[in-house]
């Protein structure tokens, strides 16, 4: 994976975390249908797994190797958060914590963005 592709993957992970966080904010204000809540999170998690798969297959050299490792770690974290959220209801108080976790992933990834 070259530097440009790594940056593109980085943007994709930030975008996914940001989308999931904004969805949780929306859920807190307007409770959605249970099926929609689970379904949307399921599709977001699928997308996250696709991103992670790409990163796991990828190789990089020099300074990019470190960036690739950081990206893999955060992409896996986003997938885990999304998978965990699928098992709870839209009213679950624990979602607030997940929202904070997703915000943390974004800020950490933005910090390493070249």
């Amino acid at each position: 994976m070259d530097h440009k592709e790594l940056q593109s993957q980085l943007k994709a992970t930030i975008s996914l975390a940001s989308e999931a966080e904004s969805f949780l904010k929306h859920v807190a204000e307007h409770r959605p249908l249970d099926a929609f809540f689970r379904g949307h999170l399921e599709y977001l998690a699928q997308q996250g797994r696709r991103n992670l798969e790409e990163l796991e297959k990828a190789t990089a050299s020099g300074q990019d190797r470190e960036l690739l490792n950081v990206e893999r770690m955060h992409a896996a974290r986003v997938v885990t958060i999304l998978e965990q959220m699928q098992t709870v209801s839209p009213d679950d108080p624990g979602l607030r914590k997940k929202q904070q976790d997703l915000a943390a992933v974004q800020s950490e990834l933005q910090r390493v963005t070249p």
């Binding site: 943007k11 994709a12 989308e19 307007h30 409770r31 959605p32 249908l33 599709y43 977001l44 997308q47």
Partner: protein
Amino acid sequence: MKKLLGITLGIMTALGGFVDLGQIVFTTQAGALFGYQLLWAIVLGTLAIIVYMEMCGRVAVVTREPVFCIVRDRFPKPLGWATLIASNLLNLITCAAELGGLGIVIHLLTGWPEKLVMVGITGLLVGIVYLCKFEWIERIFGLSGLFMIVFAASAVMVHPNWSEVARGLVPVIHPAGRGGSALYAYFAVGIFSAMLMEYEVHFYSSGAIEEKWKVKDLSENFMVSSFGSLLGSLLTVALLVLGAMIFMPGKIFPELLSSAVMTGAYPFAEKSLVLALAGTFACIAGAAVETGLSGAYNLCQFFDFKWGKDKKAKEAPVYTAVWIGMFAVSLVVALSGIDPLQLVNVSIVFGMVIMPFTYYPILRVAGDKKIMGKHVNTKFDTVVGMIFLVLIVVAAAASFPLMVMTHSGQP
């Protein structure tokens, strides 16, 4: 009242073309990346489809021949064959993508398994098309598509800056936002072309004959094509605005149908989400029916087989077998697990490449006084048609290189 309901042909044609699975996600992505800066592409696409939809409706009424008879008569045989194969392949890919999209919408609404839903929905669509007369098909899908208006209401409720929106009517060379000029050009070409998808004019011209329009109905033809297209365009603008307002600030690139659907209910509560899902379902189902039937229309018109939705299956056996076959093959493709949005990406680019072969013969016949008599194109029609044809050719030529350069529109 009958005249008023006749407008549903235009609504179904335009909603199935403008607001299908691909366009819903694509336009939301364009808004998320470039804000309102691609509004002009929607306006341009709307004008082009109004001009050509009116033209092909007029040609169908005057000559009693829909688009594919013209393609057969006007092109050398090999080119006619190539256009037929390419158009029906496009219909098949699009129909498969739409069936996949319907599975997603019902899964989001009920939680039922997607693949099982796809089988059930395909059966339902085949049943509706088989049992209903043409005018009822267009009424069912045209009128239920109006649920999509919730997206327009949502776009107003998120309070966009309207003067900034208006600025989007002018194309820019160096766009602001997260993508470069190539990505901007890719989305511009994609939006313009998706509004001109071939199956819209195939379906519309066949529909004009199915509805037995006469020369005296030509004024209605203009009204039907304009109203349907303007409504489709309004909803497309709403999707762009929602993409800009909801996703752009968080640097989100929405890649899912569920993300785009959610924007329709963003400022409202649960019930509007149901409306947004219902509207999306109706438009995507309309597109699936439009592409399925277009496949049968194209083939029967090209080979001069009997065709017509209002004929009994025994009277038009090839037509009936082909449209049922279109749904069956599309279902198999959809069940194979290919991501419907990937299929749609392929169909948009593929559609762009073959687009000139659909629109060129329409322009030629509509401008031929020997064929059209007093209903021939005016000079103005011909000039405007030529300008749009040039744009269509440019878009067709640019589509593939832009797809490669931007990795199918990835920021």
